[in-house]
C-alpha cells in the first residue's frame, strides 16, 4: 500500500529565509554595537528616519518588530502583563504594551537585557525616535518610555492630510516643505546629540539603497497578480521586516536579497508555480495587521485552497521617477525622491481616462472606492479577511466602510476575524476556522454574482 505524502500547505520562497535572517541579526548587531559604545536608537517604523540614522552611524532597532517577534515566539505575555501593572490600559497597542513591559523589566535589571528576552533582546537605547506618521501610538508610546529611560525622544513630524485636502492645490508642496524642514531640524538634533556632522554622501547611499529595496518590493508585488499567485502573504510579512526594519544592515545586502526574491518569484510566474501546494481556489487579501502569534492559521486556510495574494499593510508604493539633477540640497533630494503627491499617484495608477473620475469622486465624497479597492480589483480577489484588532485603532477604524464598499462595488465579501497582533487571548483559531469554512459558500455565491454581472474575475 502506498503511503500518501501530504505536502505542507504553503510553498515558501527559499529567498525569504536569507532576508529574514538579516532582520534576526539586527538584535545581535545592536547588542554588539552597544557593547562597543556605539549609540543605539529605538526607532518607530516610519519612512524617513532609518537612512538618516544609519548615515550618522547610529544603530537602529525597532521595538514594533521586536514585539511581533516576542509574539511569534509566544513570549509577549509576561511583558504585556507587566505593562498592565505599570498602569497602561489594556486596549492600547499590543506592540507598545509589550515594549513598555520590556522597558520596565530592563529598568528593574539596571539597564540589562532581561534574560527571558528572545533573540538576544533589544539593547538599552541612547535615543528614541518616534513618528507622527500612521498612528497616535507611535509618539505617545515613545513619550511614555520617558518613564524608563533618560534617552531623548524625537518625534519625526510628517503630514497626514485626508484624501480630499491632499488634492487641494498647494497641499503637496506645503507638505513637501514641511518634511524637508522637519528632517533638517532632525539632522540638527542628531548632530548636536552625537557631536558630529552628517556626511551627506552617506545619506545618498543609505537612501538610494532604501529606494532600491522599495522598488524591488514593488516589482515583486506586481508579480503576485499572476494566477496562480506565486508568493503568499506569509512570505511577504516575513521579508517586509528586512525592508522596513532594516536596522543597521548594509542596504546592498538587502537589495541583493530582494533581487534574488524577485528572480525566484518571476521563475514561479513563468512556470505557473503557486504559493500554496493546493489548487488556488480562493484568492484572498488580508486587511489589517498580522496575528503574529497565530500565523499558522493562514496555513490551515491554505490547506483549503485559500491563497493570500495581497494585503493592506506594509505594501510598498510605486517608485517615484523624477529628475532631481537640479536639486542641490541633499535633504530636498531625499524627500522628493520618495514623497509622491496623491494627484500624481492617481494619475499614474489609473491612467488618463480613469484618474479624473477618481479625483472627482474624492472631491465629492471625501474618499474614492476606486482608490481604496484598487488592489482587490488588480489582484482579482474572491474574498478578504478583515482582521479587527482590539488594540489598534489605526488599522481597524476604516475596515467596516471598506468591506461595505467592497461588497457594493465589486461583489467581494469580507470575513471579519477579531483578534490581536500580540495578545493570543483575543484570537480563537478554532472558532475562526469554522467561520472561514462557512465563508467559502459566501465566496462561491459572489463568484457567480460577479460572473453574471460580467466582471473580469
Amino acid at each position: 500500500m502506498t503511503q500518501e505524502v501530504k505536502t505542507r500547505p504553503l510553498n515558501r520562497l527559499k529567498s525569504m529565509y536569507a532576508l529574514r535572517a538579516e532582520v534576526d541579526k539586527m538584535y545581535q548587531v545592536g547588542g554588539e554595537a552597544k557593547a562597543k559604545g556605539r549609540p543605539v536608537a529605538w526607532v518607530m517604523l516610519e519612512g524617513w528616519a532609518n537612512p538618516i540614522l544609519n548615515a550618522m552611524d547610529v544603530i537602529t532597532v525597532y521595538p514594533e518588530n521586536y514585539s511581533s517577534l516576542c509574539a511569534a515566539q509566544k513570549l509577549a505575555g509576561p511583558f504585556l502583563e507587566r505593562a498592565e501593572t505599570e498602569g497602561y490600559p489594556t486596549h492600547l497597542c499590543g506592540y507598545a504594551r509589550a515594549c513598555v513591559g520590556y522597558s520596565a523589566r530592563m529598568v528593574e535589571l539596571d539597564g540589562q537585557i532581561p534574560p527571558e528576552a528572545p533573540a538576544g533582546g533589544m539593547p538599552r537605547p541612547n535615543l528614541l525616535i518616534s513618528s507622527a506618521e500612521v498612528c497616535d501610538a507611535r509618539f505617545k508610546w515613545f513619550q511614555s518610555l520617558g518613564r524608563y529611560f533618560d534617552a531623548p525622544v524625537w518625534t519625526l513630524e510628517s503630514p497626514s492630510p485626508n484624501a480630499r485636502e491632499s488634492l487641494t492645490p498647494g497641499t503637496y508642496e506645503r507638505n513637501t516643505q514641511f518634511l524637508i524642514n522637519e528632517i533638517r531640524q532632525f539632522v540638527v538634533f542628531l548632530e548636536k546629540l552625537l557631536g558630529k556632522k552628517m556626511e551627506w554622501d552617506k545619506l545618498d547611499f543609505t537612501s538610494d539603497g532604501t529606494n532600491e529595496i522599495n522598488r524591488l518590493r514593488w516589482e515583486i508585488n506586481q508579480l503576485r497578480k499572476a494566477r496562480p499567485c506565486p508568493m503568499h502573504t506569509r512570505d511577504f510579512w516575513s521579508v517586509m521586516s528586512a525592508a522596513l526594519y532594516r536596522g543597521a544592515a548594509d542596504p546592498t545586502v538587502i537589495v541583493d536579497g530582494n533581487q534574488k526574491m524577485y528572480d525566484e518569484v518571476k521563475y514561479r510566474v513563468d512556470h505557473g508555480i503557486a504559493a500554496i501546494n493546493r489548487p488556488e481556489k480562493y484568492r484572498m487579501s488580508f486587511e489589517g495587521l498580522a496575528p503574529w502569534h497565530s500565523l499558522s492559521f493562514l496555513d490551515d486556510l491554505a490547506d483549503r485552497g485559500w491563497n493570500f495574494v495581497c494585503e493592506s499593510a506594509y505594501s510598498p508604493g510605486r517608485p517615484v521617477v523624477i529628475d532631481l539633477s537640479k536639486v542641490s540640497d541633499p535633504i530636498e533630494r531625499y524627500v522628493r525622491k520618495r514623497y509622491r503627491s496623491l494627484a500624481s499617484a492617481i494619475e499614474i495608477e489609473f491612467g488618463p481616462e480613469e484618474a479624473p473620475k477618481v479625483k472627482e469622486e474624492i472631491m465629492r465624497e471625501g474618499t474614492s472606492y476606486r482608490l481604496r479597492l484598487k488592489h482587490i480589483r488588480d489582484y482579482q480577489c474572491d474574498g478578504v479577511v478583515l482582521h479587527v484588532l482590539l488594540s489598534c485603532r489605526a488599522a481597524s477604524s476604516g475596515l467596516s466602510l471598506f468591506s461595505d464598499q467592497l461588497l457594493d462595488v465589486y461583489k467581494v465579501p469580507s470575513l471579519i476575524i477579531e483578534g490581536d497582533i500580540i495578545d493570543t487571548s483575543l484570537f480563537n483559531p478554532v472558532e475562526s476556522l469554522k467561520k472561514a469554512e462557512a465563508f467559502e459558500d459566501t465566496m462561491d455565491h459572489y463568484k457567480k454574482v460577479r460572473k453574471n454581472l460580467g466582471f473580469e474575475w
Binding site: E86, A96, N162, R184, S396, S397, S400, L401, D404
Partner: protein, 390 residues
C-alpha cells in the same frame, strides 16, 4: 428674530435639553451653521464670516445603532456616537462639518462622515503632532488653506480686521469662562461641576456673542443665588478625555465631593489660554491651537534638543498647570477619566499619575464606555477613593 425668554442657568438648562434649538432658529433666519469636532478647528474664522460654529458631540444616553456599520466597536465610543447621531439625521441642519487630525479615529471619522452623512461643506484640518518650530509653520500654512476653503464656501473674504475682531470676541468668551471658573474657587463652589459642563456645552452650541451674554448672566446669577452647591469634603479636579454630558460628574457630586476644576475639552481646556493678537492673526491662532491648548494629542517635551531627558522635569513642563489648578482651586484629589479606546489619553494616564504622586495629590483612574448604564460600578470606586482622601 426669536427672543430668548429664559436667562442664565435656566436658559442653559433649556438649551442643554434641546441643544440645536437656537441654531435652528438662526438657520431659519438665513444664517449658516458649521459643525466642528473637538477643539482644534479654528472657530474664529467661522465667526469672522458670520457663520455660527456648532460643536458636534455624541449622545451617551442613546444606543449606537447606525454607526456600527462604519466604525467597529473597538474605537472611541464618543466618536462612534457622534457618527451615529449624524447618520440618524440629528445634524442635518449643519451647512458644513470641520474636523481636524485630533487622533487616529477622529481623522478616519472625518472621511467616513463626509462619505456617509454628506454635510454639504466638509474640511479636515491636518494639525501637526508636535510643537516643533517646523510644525508651527506648517500649522500656519494649514490654517491659511482652511481659511481659503471657508471663504470659498461663504463666498466672501476674511479680512485681517474681521479675523482680529472675531479673535477678540472669542477671547472675551475665554475670559468669561475663566471668570465663571473663578467662582468655583470658593468653598463650596458657587457653580457645580455638572452646571459648568452644561454651560460649556451650551455656549459651544450658540453664536459666541450670545454665549458671552449668557455667561455674564450666569456669573451674576450664581453670585447671588441661594441654592448653590453644598459644602463637601472633597474638592476634585477631573482630568481626561471628552466628557460631553453630566452623568459621570453628577454621580461624583452625588457623593461627598464637588468637582471644582477640570482639564477636559467640554470644560476648561479650550478656554484657559487666549489667542494672542498678532499683526498677522494666523500667527496667534497657530500658536494657540498647536501649542497652547494642552491636549495629549500633541507631543510636547521640556527641551527637544537636550542630550538627556529628565523625566520629572519633563513631567513638570507638561503638567505643572495641573498643580496650579489644584492649588488655586484647592483640589484635594484628582479623577483621571477616559473613554475606553482613547489612545492619546490612555498613554498619558501613567505619566499624569507619576506627576500627581510627585506633587502628592491623590488620583484615581476611571475608564468608561460612554454609556450611562456603566457608571454604577464606578460609583463604588469613587466612594472608595473619597474615603482614602478623607
Amino acid at each position: 428674530m426669536v427672543i430668548a425668554t429664559k436667562k442664565g442657568l435656566a436658559r442653559v438648562q433649556e438649551l442643554y435639553q434641546d441643544r440645536p434649538q437656537r441654531v435652528k432658529e438662526l438657520k431659519a433666519e438665513g444664517k449658516k451653521i458649521i459643525g466642528y469636532l473637538c477643539i482644534y478647528p479654528v472657530t474664529e474664522m467661522m465667526t469672522a464670516l458670520d457663520i455660527v460654529p456648532y460643536r458636534v458631540l455624541g449622545d451617551m444616553r442613546e444606543s449606537i445603532t447606525k454607526a456600527d456599520a462604519y466604525l467597529p466597536p473597538v474605537v472611541c465610543p464618543f466618536l462612534r456616537s457622534c457618527l451615529d447621531q449624524g447618520l440618524k439625521g440629528k445634524y442635518d441642519f449643519l451647512d458644513g462639518m470641520v474636523t481636524s487630525h485630533i487622533c487616529d479615529v477622529g481623522s478616519s471619522l472625518s472621511g467616513i462622515w463626509h462619505y456617509t452623512v454628506k454635510t454639504p461643506f466638509h474640511y479636515n484640518i491636518d494639525t501637526p503632532h508636535t510643537v516643533h518650530e517646523t510644525a508651527l509653520n506648517q500649522t500656519k500654512g494649514v490654517m491659511k488653506a482652511f481659511q481659503k476653503a471657508l471663504e470659498d464656501f461663504a463666498g466672501k473674504k476674511i479680512t485681517n480686521a474681521k479675523l482680529k475682531k472675531a479673535i477678540i470676541l472669542h477671547n472675551e468668551q475665554r475670559a468669561l469662562v475663566r471668570e465663571a471658573y473663578e467662582l468655583k474657587k470658593q468653598d463650596p463652589p458657587l457653580i457645580s461641576g455638572a452646571e459648568t459642563l452644561k454651560t460649556i456645552k451650551v455656549i459651544q452650541s450658540i453664536p459666541v456673542a450670545e454665549g458671552n451674554a449668557l455667561l455674564r448672566d450666569i456669573i451674576s446669577e450664581v453670585k447671588t443665588r441661594k441654592n448653590k452647591p453644598a459644602k463637601k469634603n472633597a474638592r476634585l479636579l477631573v482630568w481626561g478625555s471628552i466628557l460631553d454630558d453630566t452623568p459621570l460628574i453628577e454621580m461624583i457630586e452625588s457623593l461627598d465631593a464637588n468637582v471644582v476644576m477640570d482639564d477636559t475639552c467640554v470644560g476648561s481646556r479650550p478656554f484657559f489660554d487666549d489667542v494672542k493678537i498678532t499683526p498677522d492673526p494666523i500667527d496667534g491662532l497657530a500658536q494657540h491651537y498647536l501649542v497652547d491648548i494642552k491636549c495629549p494629542r500633541t507631543f510636547r517635551a521640556r527641551d527637544f534638543y537636550a542630550a538627556k531627558k529628565n523625566y520629572m522635569e519633563d513631567l513638570k513642563t507638561r503638567f505643572s498647570y495641573l498643580s496650579d489648578y489644584a492649588r488655586e482651586w484647592k483640589a484635594n484629589g484628582v479623577i483621571l477619566q477616559s473613554v475606553r479606546y482613547c489612545d492619546t489619553h490612555g498613554y498619558e494616564v501613567p505619566q499624569v499619575r507619576d506627576y500627581l504622586r510627585e506633587i502628592d495629590l491623590p488620583g484615581i483612574y476611571l475608564e468608561h464606555d460612554y454609556t450611562v448604564g456603566a457608571l454604577a460600578p464606578l460609583k463604588t470606586r469613587v466612594q472608595g477613593f473619597l474615603e482614602i482622601i478623607g
